[in-house]
Symmetry: C2
Subunit: 230 residues, 2 copies
DNA sequence: CTCTTGACTTCTACACCGTAGAACTTACAC
DNA sequence: GTGTAAGTTCTACGGTGTAGAAGTCAAGAG
């Protein structure tokens, strides 16, 4: 159409259209094979047009990371702080599952989009509801964040799958004495369920937070807690 | 020297010498500015020589990641499972602190060098000493691993520093109602100590593991544990 | 209407990249 | 000597990000 070609010429392609194409291309190809020129080819435009809208490839990658983060909907805070923490973790995990190639970008560009503030607000609120002090809530909130991102990143990179025959033989080649625990855990590692592992670790974390809130930092670090609990 | 030039010509530079130069160059420049050609220039050799020894740039990066992992000495397992877990965490954190640019490579190339097996053996052994079942130890071991790597990675990327004036004004611009917890934690975030945050989270994790080992998975996830502990 | 302006696109060009393939050099076995 | 094999270097190709100039076109001013 003349109108479309005119429009195309006038203000070119929408910036959001470029970002969309770039995001999907990145998600499909991965970082190594991703390039500005390929994005431009997909939407039928000069590479410099893409660059003009984002300033540099680095800024484009940052925008891609932000775009991914914006696509996940964060849960609303409730009164159940344990459930809230799990919900935040689940949100990041589904993000990692949906776009595993894009996910690592969130670490490189310490993405602080709106979605990020929402999720951290939920985490902070949950930890305070659990009864932690401000200092503990701040530090443990960031630690929790690191854990969730680290777990999701590990899943995205394929590090948390049940081990296959290749790894089994590799582990079996280890010295049975020095690597006794590892070798005895091979059956458990073969039937590993990432979801169960995540749920377990969330339970562990929340139980630990509850203990910290109740007994304070000095007791929770030692074995005294167990004595108290007995 | 004639002898040296002959030796250089005969079997060229040692592979380890190339790897050393590559590692330090990568640690200094970061991935974006790192290139095979620069490595070759540093040691005065043709770029193709570097490539010949490692096959591809990807293999070279993998070797760099392995080299970094090998440089950290893992602690020996003791009877104190809590201390062992902390020691493993500390080892990875110091690795991240020493070579922050190299550290992210450990995630991309799910590095399974000898040091990796040693550390996971320590983790598995510790969790079993804590009294966990094989299934729990396997899942939580990997989760612990993800946490430690995620925390160290966050530190390496500079995400865990106390917030500065720029971030403070950014947080203060948030809606005071929806981001109440975040805004009230600003003072705590300004004086954040990564070491304390890590220690706290380790205490939380070990306390949670102890509770899981004592009460089982069904109770630890609810509030019953606190009731028991009271 | 013309002229200007300013945003957007495109063209051209450059330096750099990873690496395939051939050619050269050297050490050593016979 | 004559292989032979390993290691090095040269050359070349297609691809990359992007600087800078040039082109295109809608919209407003006179």
């Amino acid at each position: 159409m003349a109108a479309e070609s005119k429009s195309r010429a006038r203000r070119g392609v929408e910036k959001s259209e470029i970002l969309d194409a770039a995001f999907h291309l990145f998600a499909a190809l991965g970082e190594a094979a991703f390039s500005i020129r390929k994005v431009a080819a997909v939407i039928g435009v000069d590479p410099m047009t893409v660059l003009h809208h984002f300033g540099s490839k680095d800024e484009l990658l940052r925008a891609i990371a932000d775009h991914g983060l914006r696509s996940v909907e964060m849960p609303a805070a409730t009164q159940d702080w344990r459930g809230d923490l799990k919900a935040v973790g689940k949100a990041y995990r589904t993000l990692a599952h949906h776009h595993p190639r894009v996910f690592p970008l969130h670490f490189r560009y310490n993405a602080t989009g709106p979605a990020d503030h929402i999720s951290s607000e939920i985490v902070y609120r949950a930890l305070r509801n659990a009864g932690l002090s401000d200092e503990s809530a701040a530090g443990l909130g960031l630690a929790f964040y690191s854990f969730v991102l680290g777990f999701a990143l590990a899943e995205a990179e394929g590090l948390l799958r049940p081990i296959g025959p290749a790894q089994e033989t590799e582990l079996n080649a280890l010295d049975p004495e020095t690597y006794r625990a590892t070798r005895e855990l091979i059956p458990a590692l073969q039937t590993l369920d990432p979801n169960a592992a995540f749920d377990d670790s969330m339970d562990v974390f929340t139980a630990g937070v509850a203990a910290l809130a109740k007994f304070g930092p000095s007791t929770v670090s030692s074995a005294d807690c167990e004595a108290k609990c007995a």
